[in-house]
Amino acid sequence: MSRPAQVPFTRLEEIAGGASVVTDAAEIAAREVCGALPAVIVRPADAAHIAEILRFAAAEQLAVIPTGGCTKLGIGSPPARYDIALDLSRMNRVLAYDPQDLTLGVEPGVRIEDLLRTLAEKKQFLPLAVPFSDRATIGGIVAANSSSPLRHAYGAVRDFCLGMEFVTGEGSQAKSGGRVVKNVTGYDLHKLLIGSLGTLAVITRVNFRTFPIPQAQGTFVASFSSAEAAFDFCRAVSHSVLTPQMVEIANPGTAALIFSGEISARIEPRTWSVVLSAAGQPAVVDRHERELGHLAGAADAEEFFPLSDAEAYSVHAQIREFPKLMMERAAAAAIFRVSAVPGVMAPLLGKLRVLAAQHELDFVSLGLASGIFHVAFLPQTESSEPPQSLSEVIAEVFRTCGQPEMHASSMLEWCPTEIKTSADVVWGPSRPDFELMRRVKHSFDPQNVLAPGRFAGGI
């Protein structure tokens, strides 16, 4: 919980301008982070403002959390202190877009939806099909390392981000990487900021490589009577010469959330579904349809069918928005992000499903065949308080994923604030590499100005 702080507003007004310092109750409430509210919101116009604000905060021992679209502030452990919300919405310009070079430099407040529209004019895109796409900003997407189903073919932010500019917790303006597509000049400090939840630095510019929008696209659904059959099919796909853009595996509970209309009518409620897309020349898409169908048949698929463009649009949107859908379904959901090699995913999900059943929770999972899943434990009945069983199951999930043969990593991305009694609840038990992360934190933010307590190991 945030302690009541005496924030000297006048200095902030001097730095960012009077109109940029906000204390409106609704605006403050929108920037809640796990139950903590800031005393004030400041809207800097540029990196120089941010540097001054952070130096001021360090001198006054105030804690600062950067915010964008305020869609993922619930991720992470509760901050130990929180005085100033640094709202980056004014920094929403595309600073450099060279479509001929397929490179891009943007400020953190640019909304992904707007950016994708700009890129589409040049028949290009960024492979960031991320949740909360109507409000999410680049800064937030990068800071939360939002997972995208397109990761299967294009990699994650770390794979197509070329460099960043940022302001460290000490108020020092710095950068790493660059604007060119290949670069090993200096340490890749920007990679540390991806997924750092604003605990190391405030991102002020992100450079990306962009990608051409494929000529044609096709989306297909295959359904299977068991998790094993679905994963076997996906393994056959990954060991074939085919090059799908997306391979998402949905458990029976998930199908009800992402399919509607005719598709749900064709899918048996008890089956596992695999949603695949292929892109490129029309001949490439046709071949995927043909051969994915054969592979699905060989894996005893119950159904295999292509989606119409309208159906595909809807299914892609539902897959992209999956964490949001789960939260809408149950306020007291516990949603993990789990990464493991594909070979252990089926047994791991099986164990987690048993855990859910033992604790009388519903279980839904959706993820990439390459091994990054969202799994959610949902109370079977709506109540004002999260059930005790949710806390118990959370500890069990970390224990299960922590078994050496699982090669799995997990974090609790979303859950009710009441349950987050310590950093371990969100990040799992301490690991030897947490000490290295503490040292990294100290290099960027020695006075613990940025989101103290929000990160792994209580960082």
Partner: protein, 477 residues
Amino acid sequence: MQPQLIRELEALLGPQAVLSAPEDLMLYEYDGSVELGSPRCIVFPTSARDVAGIVRLANRYETPIVGRGAGTGLSGGAIARNGGIVIAFSRMNRILEIDAANLRAVVQPGVVNLDLSRAVEHLGLYFAPDPSSQKSCTIGGNVSENSGGPHTLAYGVTANHVTGLELVLPGGGIVRIGGKSVETSGYDLRGLLVGSEGTLALVTEITVRLMRKPEAVKTLLAVYDTLDDTTESVVEITVRAITPAACEMLDGFTLRAVEDYVHAGFPKDCAAVLLIEVEGLKEAVEAQAAEITEVCRLHRAREVRAARNDQERNLLWRGRKEAFGAMGRISPMYYVQDGVIPRTRLPETLRRIEEISRKYDLQIGNIFHAGDGNLHPLILFDERDRAQFARVVAAGGEIMRHCVEVGGALTGEHGIGMEKNELMPLIFTPDDIALMERVRAAFNPLGSLNPGKVLPMGKACGEIRVPPMPASTTIPT
């Protein structure tokens, strides 16, 4: 004190694992760059525990430590600049696990890059990063330098293919970061460690992604009468968003040396060639190859031909990958640059390099990864001519400054090392560098690990280092 250190190292590792005779040290005083530095001794650990023991001993004797793979690096990363102990990983060369089902391999750092691909070839898999030195360079070295190669245009550099590392920290602790899973919660320490040039920790085990071999590969050779037509073709391939797996350029000067050596059928009378490879499903390959051919013809390629079989394809690639070696036929030494530029700036950059070549009266060969704007101008020289060597250094600096001016970078894949660390201020502000120094100190507080690399030492800011005169006439390849 130092003889005592060697005795203690021998007690720790056995006498066969420690070299300290002057004639042995000489073999480890250079790498693939033009740099030199003599270590006090070389040690050959066989396990992470050995490495941790060496590190603890070195700390007790306040002696620097430098990790070394095959010594093929091109920026002096494996050179004992301040003396001390070189830890050679050549006896940690086992492939520990091939997990084909999950497309992973776990290897020791001394495994040779190509050996891993060969070990998984029968499974239809390979390890994607393919530096030209892949027949000899080690995966540990690739991790240190975040190595690239021709095919990184499509598949990314080493950092995109490493999922886990085991580290020995400069204090002697052993820590694992990441593992087989695609991601690990917390800060992306893998992303920081890969490419940190051995200045943060010693890597003792690496988990890498393996990739499935594509169904079809087509290798095209486009032949040009002018450099401008060649570079304009590359720009248009990029602009049209065609994504070949590799797009390499060799200029006529380089080609003639290569052809005399490799006999790959490169035309010796042209201004330049592009070696372009497309991979994937056969439908995609045919369509892309057709479009690339059209672009090349549009830009007046006098000939565009496809390799007819694997033998022809391998010969073309041998020409590319052994081009540095072929330079030895026409020059006693060369100095290779590694600047990167935005791809649309290729034509003007090649013209600039020609001007610089004339200005300094030096022969510069161009052979590089055109598709991602990663240049490798080779400045030829004779080390006996000291005046010429000074011009070589000045010309190299001017090429790098041009790369920076057009929005590029100092190095695309060879690393900063001890060659370009004093040039870092061309790209980075004192604040940028101060933060990098703090991150280095967070891992390597005493500066004992690979000192004098990556970050400027503050003596000659913004100057390219004038390397010591090479002692022998050996041509590094």
